[in-house]
Amino acid sequence: MKKPKVGIFDFACCEGCQLQLANMGEQVLSLLGSLRVMEWREVMSETWGKKLDIAIVEGSITDPHAVERIQRIRRRASVLIAYGSCATIGGVNGMKNNFVFDEIRKYVYGDSYAFFPTEPTKAVHQVVEVDYFIHGCPVYIPEVVTVLKAALQGIPYYVPDYPVCVECKLNENVCMYDRKVTCLGPVTRAGCNSWCINNGNICYGCRGMVSNPNEKGALDVLAKYGIPTSLVVNKMNMYNKCRELDEP
């Protein structure tokens, strides 16, 4: 089997998901053993610019320049993997869509705001077609490995379409609701092995919502704690604001 050619690209993001690859340690070498990395700006000076078998794309699409760039990448990649929440669901960059753009640009850049064009944050699949989704802020390495293997095998990867609670229970964590704190686990799709709750914190919903969340039920549960609705909505939208741009 010829080793597939892979490119790693980044858009608006923190590059933490790319870093997760380095965090695999020597394991990354076995992975790299079955592919040929042609482009990876963060750690490589080499460029390639031709056909790729797999493009791994990190980050959200936030300006006109990025739209063109992602379209070019799509055209030369047979398989495109949206990598990390910024890419798969817009992630934290989506919070920008809560604001009036000129206002937020002025707030950040003052009178020079005109230098900094911006448009609504979009997830990658809201601009070009995506073949595989690796959710998470940051991505969860075991899932990365699973998806890359699926991509190499040429079979689909189905993102778990059930909530984080499933994994949380299997890890026998004390439920955050028993600790009287609100947790987004019940509406967030699993796959991270309930990473945050295992470490004593709540789930912030970084992997996006399950396909058919009981949003009303969840809001009811959240609202029980007497937090202003705006904050509850903020909480649900921290990662999931771009969901509004998805076709129903």
Partner: protein, 278 residues
């Protein structure tokens, strides 16, 4: 952690070899398969097997050939996901794993000696082909045989050469229809239920065998009941999500019945009150 090999495990695979493949339509492919150890599958018409691709997964697939052919069996597979798409890339000589056969097929012992009304919608022809070929192999054991077949478009028609042959036979009655015609289509147009009133049957000695997409059942059953076929003689095969085939994993349950063990073929009397069935 200790580990032992289990000989009797319900998850053990039998090796099988693909003898022949044929593309039936854009999405459906035909496979003739033999067990590697030369033994016979020994299935009943309407039973299914778990087809296994190591490293990818398993899928329940109906056997679509007659049990009277003992040295090999046929599958007809629609490419929809992981296992089935990969199966479509396999060729003659490739190896797969199988488990089974599983479940209860069409009760041939009970049907024998009676008339048959076979109603197939789309891919439903696959399990029914097993019954039809069995009946044709033992034609003298059965009374009148009607075959009604419907699909969405002419180009989705499976086993068209065989359908053509059946339509030529004088010892059975064959009719087919499509939901949407194309320019070359000269036959019936309309849903399959439109064919039922036209068949001439003696309801009390007729068994109806129905397999098709879920939406089809309610309408077809209504027509069959109108014809006066007893509920016990209406046989339906169900498709559900399935992981184990051993009546444990829970995915295929229709209320208190397990499709993989109690089915996939049920008579209407058994399930008429089960609202999850329809």
């Amino acid at each position: 952690m200790e580990k032992v090999v289990i000989k009797d495990s319900g998850y053990r695979l039998k090796k099988a070899t693909i003898l022949r493949t044929k593309n039936l339509t854009r999405n459906e492919k035909f496979f003739e398969i033999a067990l590697k150890d030369g033994s016979s599958l020994d299935h009943e018409p309407g039973q299914f097997i778990m087809v296994s691709l190591l490293g990818i997964g398993e899928s329940p697939i109906s056997v679509c050939s007659s049990p009277s052919r003992r040295d090999s069996f046929d599958l007809c597979i629609r490419a929809v996901g992981k296992v089935t798409r990969r199966l479509h890339t396999l060729k003659k000589g490739d190896e797969i794993g199988i488990r089974g056969p599983y479940g209860r097929g069409f009760p041939v012992n009970i049907i024998t000696g009676n008339d048959l009304l076979i109603i197939a919608g789309g891919l439903g022809i696959a399990p029914l082909r097993s019954l039809i070929t069995y009946v044709l192999d033992n034609r003298r054991d059965f009374g009148k045989v009607h075959i009604l077949f419907g699909c969405k478009e002419p180009k989705e028609m499976l086993f068209s050469d065989e359908l053509e042959q059946w339509s030529q036979r004088t010892d059975l009655h064959y009719a087919c229809t499509v939901d949407r015609a194309d320019p070359e289509w000269a036959g019936n147009v309309g849903v399959i239920t439109t064919l039922i009133p036209g068949v001439d049957i003696e309801p009390l000695r007729t068994f109806a065998a129905v397999v098709g997409p879920p939406v089809m059942y309610t309408f077809v059953i209504k027509e069959l009941l109108k014809k006066g076929i007893p509920k016990r003689q209406i046989l339906l095969s169900f498709e559900r999500n399935m992981a184990c085939g051993n009546g444990k994993c829970g995915h295929c349950q229709i209320q208190n019945l397990y499709v993989c063990q109690d089915g996939p073929v049920f008579n209407y009397e058994q399930i008429k009150n089960l609202s999850e069935a329809f």
